[in-house]
């Protein structure tokens, strides 16, 4: 509660007296060169403090970015001497490479299949977990454990589970189905794609789950209570209350996850090695192979820019939608 009136003389008012008082305060800085230096340092202290971080960011981000633009227009290939300017040749090589084009298709298939699977599973789990029940804490802890495992280890673990003839998956499926199961999970299409999606979904469904659960718990309870009083069916409640309220979080989760899913590399590296042939080459795997196995660095860099541009369009659309939703709230 603010005081009704300040007591007279509580604060010196601007004026002659006040100025006199101010002048009588002992000067903290000595006039002259030292004082000016100290004043300069005081004024720029914030910049001085921020400078190391800014320099680090420039050195680690901006410089490589500019360097990569330069590299994509020259010959920067370990097996071909010299760094001659080649114009758009590196870009043409990527566009003309059927493996690069196929890798985009693979990226599209795998990222959309993974994100859709993870979204549906994550939503189902979040809906199941939103209301308290006995053991919910333990169940939630178990569910989010895969998030903390390195994707390479996840890939290796799934490879061990799926690889014939030693992996137990076919054996267990055979027992379950009562018939001989001889699926080549890592070398037979479409099973290799399914294996990659399963491994990815196992690891990243908890990410969707956590975000969507946070969204669900933030929906005001009284809306559900009102719907219940009005006798609204469960499905209608979900469609007309839950989904609209959860939509921004859904979009956020899908955007974040898609950003990561288009970079899919680790599990492919461990599970299929890109094979059979180039069947499971994602764009990241293709760029890795060209850049770090074949050492055609300029081609890989040009490919990275092309891939970045395409990804930026998709993610840009999603982010714009997200911003629109946020602005409307």
């Amino acid at each position: 509660m603010a005081p009704a009136a300040l007591p007279a003389g509580a604060f010196p008012l601007p004026g002659k007296e006040g100025m006199t008082n101010a002048a009588s305060v002992p000067q903290r800085r000595r006039p002259g060169r030292d004082g000016a230096l100290a004043e300069w340092a005081d004024r720029r202290l914030k910049w001085l403090l921020a400078a190391p971080a800014i320099l680090l960011i420039l050195a680690l981000s901006l410089y490589p970015l500019l360097f990569s633009i330069w590299v994509s227009f020259i010959n920067y290939d370990f097996t071909v001497p010299g760094h001659a300017f080649v114009g758009l040749k590196n870009f043409q090589q990527v566009i003309g490479d059927p493996v690069a084009r196929w890798s985009l298709v693979v990226t599209l298939i795998l990222s959309s299949a993974s994100v859709v699977t993870e979204f549906l599973l994550g939503l189902a789990l979040a809906l199941a977990m939103v209301k308290p029940f006995r053991g919910r804490g333990v169940a939630m802890s178990v569910i989010i454990v895969p998030l903390f495992i390195s994707p390479v280890i996840v890939g290796q673990a799934w490879a061990l589970l799926l690889q014939r003839p030693f992996g137990p998956t076919n054996y267990l499926l055979g027992k379950l189905l009562g018939m001989d199961v001889t699926i080549s999970w890592l070398t037979q299409t479409p099973w290799n794609f399914i294996a990659l999606v399963v491994a990815d979904a196992w690891q990243w469904t908890p990410f969707m789950f956590v975000i969507l659960l946070a969204g669900l718990t933030s929906i005001p309870q009284h809306i559900y209570e009102a719907a219940e009083l009005d006798g609204v069916e469960w499905l209608d409640t979900f469609i007309f209350i839950t989904v609209p309220h959860l939509a921004p979080m859904m979009l956020l989760a899908v955007t974040f996850r898609l950003l990561d899913a288009v970079k899919l590399f680790d599990t492919i590296f461990m599970l299929t090695g890109g094979g059979p042939g180039t069947m499971t080459y994602s764009s990241s795997f293709y760029l890795y192979t060209v850049g770090f196995q074949q050492f055609h660095l300029s081609q890989a860099t040009a490919g990275s820019w092309i891939f970045l541009a395409m990804t930026a369009i998709v993610i840009g659309v999603l982010v714009r939608r997200l911003m629109r939703v946020e602005a409307a709230r």
Binding site: D77, R164, T182, S184, T187, G273, G275, T278
Partner: protein, 552 residues
């Protein structure tokens, strides 16, 4: 803590904080103590770890019981290093290297078992002999190519000694990643040691008339088969009746798939005819295809440097390989080399062709070391026969020790390389049960110590030498990585059902792109040089040149 003590503590703490904020002596005290602490850390990082590292290095030397063949080989290596003969490469290397005491050499090794040699044996022994420490950098096989290049581009000087495939030598030499050894060899080495190499390995580190490393790993493929199965009277009779010829280790690839299919038909699911490393990106497909392709008369390029994979030899090779796949253990196309070993050691397979550790593991010699006890104990020890791979076996990979161009201590690094690959030291290294280094010197094949490691080790060594006599080399020329990658992709596509003709056409087109990128004329010159090497083709093996080595 009672209430009064709590109040006193909080008051004291508050006073400390206030004093610190006011910049009173507390702050100076803090800064002084911080300085003291930093000084202690600086001192300790210099002095204590030196002592600790030394102690650890001493503790890490893993010497075998002196009464065992390995112990005797190690003793002989130490004696040659410390007592001579004075003109021996090992002795001269040690003497010359002593002036580099305190230096640390970084050396790349394939991660895992390969790296145990420098960690447990050669590194610590070298340190005891010279005072030079070793920093073993473990890399996956593909990274043994890519990391040194990346470090060279970054000019980091991260490595001194590189373990590289002989096939990478042209690319790494032209790229400035490695440096020639000729001057050092003239200064320090007993060049008679070169004559101790098997002829197929001798010329491998030579490129453009200079020596770019020391060959150090005889990775010859050989055929390993179950004698008990091949000598089973019932199976022999049945085979004779069915094919009108005796059941025997196959000499042609057609025979190979026929025998494998016969055994699978007779013995599956207990035992299958064969198993192969067919997994994508796991080393295997490229070596297997190229050895069979050349055994079928295939050549890599024509006079105009156009790829010749899309040929009758290519089709025939795929026909044989697909037939072999069909006759193999379930999941054959998903296996890598280790998985093949597991199936073989468990007795699930009648024959495999693979790298030389197969023989040592089959006899349970490798598993005598704790480091390798993750490999299953062999259920087939004493039942294994050794034979030539049908046609011609591939020298698949192999290793050269190469000197990094950016090494800060090139002479010290060179001296380690000379010492480690000298006849007595390399023998002791090849005999380490956990190491994957394979015999490559004549003195290795003829070593009575190696021959006494297990009952039929002599036959194993004789077969390896014979395999080298008939062996084929990987393509030693720039672009090998790209050519090999295309073959791997081609093979795995065919395993998954792609038409072999179409796959061969795709791979040929990729090969032509690689050639064009590197320059057709220069590639043609490299290819011409490669064809001069013994082992470059089935008509140009050591055996065909009349230089074959026989082990009695």
């Amino acid at each position: 803590m009672d209430e009064r003590a709590k109040r006193d503590f909080q008051a004291g703490l508050s006073a400390e904080v206030d004093a610190f904020l006011r910049g009173e002596p507390t702050r100076r005290e803090f800064i002084r103590r911080f300085g003291e602490m930093a000084g202690m850390i600086a001192l300790s990082s210099g002095a204590v770890p030196l002592f600790a590292q030394d102690a650890l290095a001493q503790a890490a030397v893993d010497l075998a019981d002196p009464g065992t063949p390995l112990g005797k080989a190690q003793a002989a290596a130490l004696k040659a290093s410390t007592e001579g003969p004075a003109d021996g490469s090992a002795f001269r290397a040690v003497q010359a290297a002593k002036k580099y005491k305190g230096v640390t050499l970084s050396m790349t090794y394939e991660a895992g078992l390969q790296a145990l040699d420098p960690r447990n044996f050669s590194g610590p022994v070298w340190e005891q002999l010279t005072g030079i420490k070793s920093n073993v950098v473990e890399l996956s096989h593909p990274d043994q190519y890519s990391k040194p290049i990346a470090e060279h581009i970054a000019n980091s000087g991260a490595y001194d000694i590189l373990d590289i495939e002989p096939a990478w030598t042209p690319a790494m030499a032209d790229g400035g990643v490695i440096q020639p050894l000729d001057d050092y060899i003239a200064k320090f080495m007993n060049t008679a040691d070169f004559d101790d190499y098997h002829p197929i390995f001798k010329a491998l580190p030579t490129y453009k008339g200079k020596v770019w490393g020391f060959f150090d790993d005889g990775d010859m493929f050989a055929l390993y088969y179950r004698k008990d199965i091949f000598e089973d009277p019932k199976l022999k009779d049945a085979y004779q009746k069915k094919f009108n010829k005796p059941l025997a280790p196959p000499a042609t690839w057609e025979d190979y798939s026929q025998v494998a299919q016969f055994i699978t038909d007779q013995m599956a699911p207990n035992v299958y005819g064969a198993a192969h490393f067919r997994k994508a990106s796991a080393p295997g497909n490229q070596y297997d295809f190229l050895q069979q392709y050349r055994a079928n008369g295939g050549v890599f390029f024509n006079d105009k440097m156009k790829a010749q994979l899309d040929s009758a030899a290519g089709i025939k090779t795929f026909q044989n390989m697909l037939a072999a796949n069909k006759a193999s253990i379930p999941g054959n196309n998903e296996l890598d080399a280790v998985s093949v070993w597991v199936a073989w050691l468990q007795g699930k397979v009648a024959m495999i062709y693979s790298w030389p550790p197969t023989g040592r593991m089959s006899a349970n010699y490798s598993q005598s070391a704790k480091a390798i006890n993750f490999v299953p104990q062999s259920a087939i020890a004493g039942k294994v026969g050794y034979a030539l791979v049908p046609g011609n076996p591939e020298l698949a990979v192999g290793y050269n020790k190469a000197l990094a161009a950016d090494s800060a201590n090139p002479e010290a690094a060179y001296l380690f390389m000379q010492w480690a690959t000298s006849p007595p030291v390399s023998l002791a290294r090849c005999m380490l049960p956990y190491s994957l280094r394979d015999p490559y010197r004549l003195s290795h094949y003829n070593s009575s110590l190696y021959q006494s490691l297990w009952p039929d080790a002599k036959a194993y060594l004789a077969n390896l030498a014979n395999s080298a006599n008939n062996g084929l080399l990987d393509m030693i020329m720039p672009g090998w990585q790209d050519y090999a990658l295309s073959v791997d992709r081609m093979c795995t596509a065919v395993w998954a059902g792609t038409d072999p003709k179409a796959a061969l056409q795709t791979a040929s087109a990729e090969w032509d792109q690689v050639t064009e990128r590197l320059g057709a004329d220069s590639q043609k010159a490299f290819y011409a040089e490669y064809l001069k090497l013994p082992g470059s083709s089935a008509s140009n093996t050591v055996e065909k040149l009349g230089k074959g080595v026989k082990i009695d």
